[in-house]
Symmetry: C2
Subunit: 386 residues, 2 copies
């Protein structure tokens, strides 16, 4: 069976070179804009390219405000602070996520609290969550408390796995019921829409990522999205060391961060976002090809976007059927040794040493999926080949 | 008098254009390297330019290991973690410093403890510090404790103000006596030498900055320096999300950070560091010119590097004599309104709302200096004019 999958991948990829999981494409104005940025002498965080890229993101996503940061992790960190997460609060998040989600919560001294996902969306299972919260929580002065730990549950961070949107309508209902703030971890979902609206518009604040492996990249970078003017102002303030604006004096009014994206990186980003519609088209084409190719391998299923979504298909995934999950490591070995990069999904958060004692609900779906998901090469250029 | 100073500055600067405090110069390989970096497709933190720039920094400073970070603040944050600073520890630092020093300590949940500076060096006054520590500290199992607060004093952060080195020999003696780790805040002192050795080699770990206003820039960026192999490895590990190296699997063994500099910025940095000797020559020439020009204004003193130092003169400063300090704001106003940017020194840390209740020693020298220091235009290109 591992061989069958390797051959399928070879057919789609059709290349003798090593094929990485995801690489960026620089075929637009990248070199022009970056050169122009250097020539302007404004390469740091007060450059014009920062404003231009922020405007382009705002326009593309439909979010009123976009605030660029040094990476997705810092965008998440600030987003959590903006909705009022404090030391010793609990923050709900899927156990099946990239480490950044849990790290950002830890930076505040808050505690990740892991919840389960829905196999059909790979995002938080809101029905199961509601049932769980109704058992362990109680409302105290309008705030949600975990009766077991006596901690406040302040926020929930839905993460749009591989770019596929969480079922937000259902999640919003649950979050409202328990008065829990939503911070969307949209790190992977730039270009993904939920019922026609771009991801990142459902949380009070949201975070996206432009890391080197993302659908568009700024080298390293991220962005905070919000539709709330006050929070947008605050985001800009605390990401720029909380300095009170003044032509030459240095006064700061709170503990701030040095989290603003330099213009050099924003210049790259501006060129990249111009190409985003093209990248998405190619990536969706690639996903269609994979979907067709994998139809006749009955041991696996190719993961398809939920009905309500138009996904960026950031990372394509195959899911081994229950009775084949013992083959995961063999498939990973076989493909990687043959120059086709594949990888398992992230180790679940509660399986990592530093988060193993965090509160959690029944995670049987995540645990079952952990050993069944394999990501396969997903770069946009692969969509051109067929 | 404000007019006399304005006219002096006009004479040196000799330009009708607005003159900023400090701007970068991109006249070397900046565009070539950045273009090459984009063409290589490796713009993120695993790019070749990251290694090359790290090697160049290591070679220039003489520090065995250089680990690039997203900025100086993040380099300081990690440096403090590396020497073992923990939540609720106290960390000694000058009250006269940029906010990043105090912020980095706060990120850990540790407490800044402010100490005074020496008017002749603008750096920590080690004699006064020793006398202070002998009164307030006691050793418990070989560790230094503040008797007043009952907190451990784990580290001290000397900051090389405007690039002028602290008298490190004296500070090292005091730090040894009380078993306090030294983390050098060398953010401003790339290119500055103490008794022939580059700053950043005296602390167990040190931080430098490549922010847009620094002597060389990467847009935004910083670097950790150390001569300790173990700490260097640890620095690289926790700045890359503490991921255990593996070709495709995702396991992390501690709470980590997303703090590595992208290759795009490192490419700019590599071109910049090639020009560093030239920048320093020009900046030292400019300082000499200022020194001569200000000789005949008896109301102010131009700040000259301490005898033991060869300084990069990152930011030039004039210091108003005691009886003229009421003129500071008028001079700032007059110069800025006439297109020559000047600024006061940072507001002292204990005068900021969020740090006003932190422990501190007598800060009379810093307080006296706070209203007397004015930074004047210091870009390297100004050194060419004469």
């Amino acid at each position: 069976m591992p061989n069958k999958i390797l051959n399928k991948l070879k057919e789609v990829i059709n290349s003798k070179d090593f094929t990485p999981l995801h690489i960026p494409i620089f075929e637009g104005n990248e070199i022009d804009y970056v050169t122009d940025c250097i020539k302007s002498n404004f390469v740091s965080s007060v450059g014009e390219y920062v404003n231009k890229f922020e405007e382009a993101i705002s326009k593309y996503t439909g979010a009123k405000y976009a605030i660029l940061t040094v990476n997705g992790t810092s965008a998440l960190h600030i987003s959590l602070l903006l909705v009022g997460v404090k030391r010793d609060d609990e923050v709900l998040m899927p156990a099946m996520t990239f480490i950044a989600t849990a790290n950002a919560v830890s930076y505040i001294g808050a505690i990740p609290h892991f919840v389960d996902v829905d196999e059909k969306t790979l995002g938080i299972d809101s029905k199961k969550l509601d049932e769980y919260l109704s058992r362990i929580c109680e409302m105290r002065n309008g705030e949600c408390f975990n009766k077991n730990t006596n901690k406040r549950i302040k926020a929930i961070v839905p993460m749009h796995t591989f770019g596929h949107p969480v079922d937000m309508d259902e999640l919003i209902k649950v979050a409202k019921k328990y008065n829990i703030e939503i911070v969307e971890d949209a790190a992977e979902s730039l270009g993904s829409f939920y019922k026609g609206v771009h991801t990142g518009n459902f949380g009070k604040v949201s975070a996206i990522s432009f890391n080197g492996n993302k659908i568009i990249t700024t080298g390293g970078g991220g962005c905070i999205l919000t539709n709330d003017e006050e929070l947008a102002k605050k985001a800009k303030h605390i990401t720029t060391t909380a300095k009170i604006p003044h032509p030459y004096e240095y006064e700061h009014d709170t503990i701030g961060y040095n989290y603003r994206m330099p213009a050099l990186n924003a210049a790259l980003g501006l060129a990249q976002i111009e190409k985003l519609p093209e990248f998405i088209e190619k990536k969706r084409k690639l996903a269609k090809i994979y979907q067709n190719f994998f139809k006749d391998i009955e041991e696996v299923e190719f993961f398809v976007e939920p009905e309500y979504a138009k996904s960026n298909y950031w990372l394509n995934a195959i899911i081994l059927k229950e009775n084949n999950k013992s083959l995961r490591d063999e498939i990973l070995k076989e493909t990687n040794e043959n120059g086709i990069m594949t990888r398992p999904i992230w180790k679940l958060m509660h399986h990592l040493e530093m988060f193993k004692n965090c509160p959690k609900m029944d995670l049987s779906v995540s645990e079952n999926l952990e050993n069944r998901i394999i990501n396969i090469p997903s770069s946009a250029y692969l969509g051109e080949k067929q």
